[in-house]
Symmetry: C2
Subunit: 535 residues, 2 copies
């Protein structure tokens, strides 16, 4: 093996130059960092700059029988970050393939490479003053758009379903062939990035959440900038209010009236978004004592559940939607709306205030408003990475919010439910005790992501520098994963820690995926083990 | 071969009983009928009533090496109807698998088998007074919903993209295994029919426009009945008005303001929807003389292009959208709106009028309005099959509108274009002369089907009882197909006549599809040749 891999590295170096082929210990350490309890250690890292480079990398890997593990920017926080599923793979870091190949304003789409970051596309659009928004996630300015789309991630605007809003892929297969999906394989095709399904079997789905190919470019749809944008907020005081608010919101989502993702965060989610764990007040104990939790909730003026979302359209449409939302939620409480003027004012005020004394709290609140508002308009921010610091103990506020730099512990579990209040209650009641039993707070957001489905994004935030806590986090995660599967709420995506267990209670589906793998990647050299439990 | 097939039929008879296994000449004749110039002749027909039956059929077919060709209801008019791609296959007629397995009103979805017709689901919903609409096509009450969805057909309401609005499949593979997609393969999964993508590679696309499996049940999303519905109409007088109207409508589609399909039919499309070819006035000549075309256009008060669509929402939303549409289309002409009261009045009047004398024309017009209005509300009708009679010569008005009963000739070609006016003009200018050269009228509808794409649904209507005209239709079709591919506007679906030619100028895509076929159907016994040009 060593000889084979040495030989492969020599050939990669000959092809790419030494600067783009790394296996020094510093690089290995950098790419072994992980927010999960166990990261994995790669053999080395390659930095292709073109599709042809990717083909070359594949060809050499194939001859050596070494698995290549493509990452876009490696910001898959809490799901595996930049780590491969298993040790001993070679990371194919696509961050230098970061060209924006096309932005079509008339038809509102872009074609981009995997290395393009959220900030980069945002800046491109801003600089040119294009009347377009793109949908971004809270994972920070440096996260890859393609990477998130291939993981079938969700953002916050009406274009939040990223995979649905993608169209036309270029893919390098495990045998080096280049596949163009949709109409892209027809010469002079004119509808490649505007019509998703193409002609013949629709193949694009194969390259999401899989190890079936390396996507080297992708069309993504952009949202025409609306005439008007509003935010809405509602707080529900009691834990048991969750099902009522979901059932009240469902008709608004189902009818397409509310097009944005609706975010329903519990008090812990909100609190952890702007402050760290109150170690002193808790006397160093975890999980957060219930009395302290209630006190923090009261002090901040939050509810047990806190609803937020966006409204988009002409001025008239937004007015009408405000009326509809107010009417539907009236039995639950008074909905607050924030329009563009108030949002602009909040931004000015936020910048004027100082982050100390009595001003600090107001500043933090306004900052949250501005940043949530930005996200609902497709503006990237790293503000939501602040929550990763929640359980970091005995260390000062770090300069960077990069979870890998801070060595914070973070595991997500994201079960999907039908949009029925009782389903959310069922889930929350069953998983909360598991968090608490292991000494963690159930940080839970229930997000209404499509017309009929909602996801509970739940976080185990732990101190990765504390070994015993790290062990508990791992066991807690395993128990949570088993529990959501038992309840029938499988997740919408998986961390590398769960990937070997995805076939539990299921067979043909994963057999079929595995059979297709053998056709597209006969030597099994792409992303070994990624969403492939039978490997 | 004969012995093998005799043996297979004996085994099918043993399994299903003689009544559900047919190869008498009458049945063979019935299933050889086609609206295309060449139908194909099957070996026989099987009628499974359950998924287990389908597995049995597959198992026996596999041992005999005979291809099974599943059809849902066989109403794939103008694309191959109930015919297999090649002679000598056994039709697997799924029409008796027609259970509505579930209708969930709260989450607005249904789970149905392939034999469920548009009328059947419509009646089910009506009888129970459920506040739901489903999206139907103009292909008549007896057409299959699953069949159309697997062909990636389009309807007229905001739920018009049928494949997008489907969720959770049960599929019998060519080796007899049952695959459940999405979350369906997990025990007690609760989100199978509400969340489309599941976990791991998204496989559903493989079973649309393909020969990769036999779908035995499918979840489809239903539309919550809106508070208000309006239709809008606009006529454009000149041929060259088409690009202007598309460019004016694009922002309304892109912004999601108009959610329905927008139908832009040319004069010929409208005329052929309520009258047959004017053989006498044309002196028996084809194609329709330009002066006569203009006279008919004038007499009926149609434009060269005729726009129609629907608006859905609360009363307030519909009012606002009317304002937006009126404003956007103002430079082009005066948009007419028809609200529920006017539509109800039209329906009453239509039923009161007689279909003769001076009342006939008004009756026909009102009938069109009522039926288009119905379709925009998901009400199945056979009215749009009337157009299939256009070029039927020397025969009286038939009792049935079934194209196969009437032996009418019909071929569709449906290229997809980016939603840009100049693309439609480019297409229309290049294909119209081809129609005319072969003696056919360019019957063209440009439909804005998604936010960014439009389809030109074009028809060769010909007299299938006239041999020379049938020959011309075939050659005309081949030339049209080559032309749209040359222009870069590949179709969104294909007739069995084009399936052997889909790989033109393209390779890896079809190689990949073919490779996957070998895994899912190792003996190649499902739908031989269907969207598989390399077979």
């Amino acid at each position: 093996m060593t000889t084979k891999s040495d030989e492969a590295f020599r050939r990669w170096e000959a092809a790419f130059g030494e600067e783009r082929v790394r296996r020094d210990s510093e690089t290995i350490e950098l790419y072994s960092r992980c927010t999960l309890p166990h990261g994995t250690t790669p053999l080395g890292v390659l930095y292709p700059v073109s599709t042809a480079d990717v083909q070359t990398a594949v060809s050499i890997a194939r001859q050596a029988g070494i698995s290549l593990y493509p990452i876009s920017r490696g910001k898959n926080w809490g799901y595996g970050d930049a780590c491969a599923v298993t040790d001993g793979q070679v990371i194919l870091d696509l961050s230098r393939m970061n060209r924006i190949l096309e932005v079509n304003s008339e038809l509102a789409y872009a074609v981009i490479e995997p290395g393009v970051t959220q900030q980069q596309l945002f800046d491109y659009i801003e600089e040119r003053g294009l009347p377009l928004w793109f949908d971004c996630t809270g994972s920070g300015p440096e996260a890859s758009i393609v990477g998130n789309t291939l993981e079938r991630g969700f953002g916050h605007t009406p274009y939040g379903d990223h995979f649905y809003n993608s169209c036309g892929m270029e893919v390098v297969l495990g045998d080096g062939r280049i596949l163009r999906t949709g109409y892209g394989h027809y010469r002079d095709a004119k509808a490649t990035h505007v019509f998703k399904w193409g002609l013949g079997p629709y193949l694009d789905g194969l390259f999401t959440q899989s190890s079936l190919g390396i996507v080297t470019s992708l069309g993504i749809w952009l949202m025409p900038k609306p005439e008007c944008f509003n935010m809405f907020f509602l707080s529900m005081p009691e834990d048991d209010d969750l099902p009522r608010v979901i059932d009240a919101l469902r008709p608004l989502k189902l009818s397409g009236r509310i097009k944005s993702l609706v975010h329903i965060g519990n008090d812990l989610r909100i609190i952890s978004s702007f402050q760290r764990y109150p170690w002193d007040d808790a006397g160093g104990q975890t999980p957060l004592p219930e009395t302290l939790r209630r006190a923090l909730r009261k002090k901040g003026g939050f509810g047990a559940w806190n609803v937020s979302g966006g409204i988009y359209g002409s001025n008239g449409e937004v007015r009408e939607m405000r009326r509809q939302i107010r009417k539907a939620l009236k039995p639950l409480g008074s909905v607050r709306f924030v329009g563009p003027k108030m949002l602009a004012f909040a931004e000015v005020l936020w910048k004027l205030l100082r982050s100390r004394g009595w001003q600090k709290e107001l500043q933090v609140m306004l900052g949250s408003l501005v940043k949530v508002g930005g996200l609902l308009q497709g503006r990237p921010t790293d503000a939501f990475l602040y929550g990763t610091l929640w359980r970091m103990a005995g260390r000062d506020e770090p300069e960077s919010l990069d979870p890998l730099v801070n060595n914070v512990g973070l595991m997500w579990i994201s079960p999907i439910m039908p949009m029925i209040g009782s389903a959310a209650q069922d889930l929350v009641r069953n998983i909360s005790p598991i968090f608490l039993r292991y000494g963690f707070e159930p940080l839970i957001t229930v997000s209404l992501i499509t017309e009929r489905a909602m996801v509970a994004v739940t976080t185990i935030a732990y101190d990765r520098e504390n070994t015993s806590e790290t062990d508990k986090a791992r066991t807690c995660y395993e128990e949570l994963f088993r529990e959501i599967m038992r309840l029938g709420y499988a997740p919408y995506r998986s961390s590398i820690a769960s990937m070997p267990h995805l076939a539990i209670g299921s067979d043909v589906f994963w057999d079929v995926a595995s059979g297709i793998k053998k056709v597209l990647d006969p030597d099994g050299i792409i992303s070994k083990g990624r969403y492939d439990p039978l490997v």
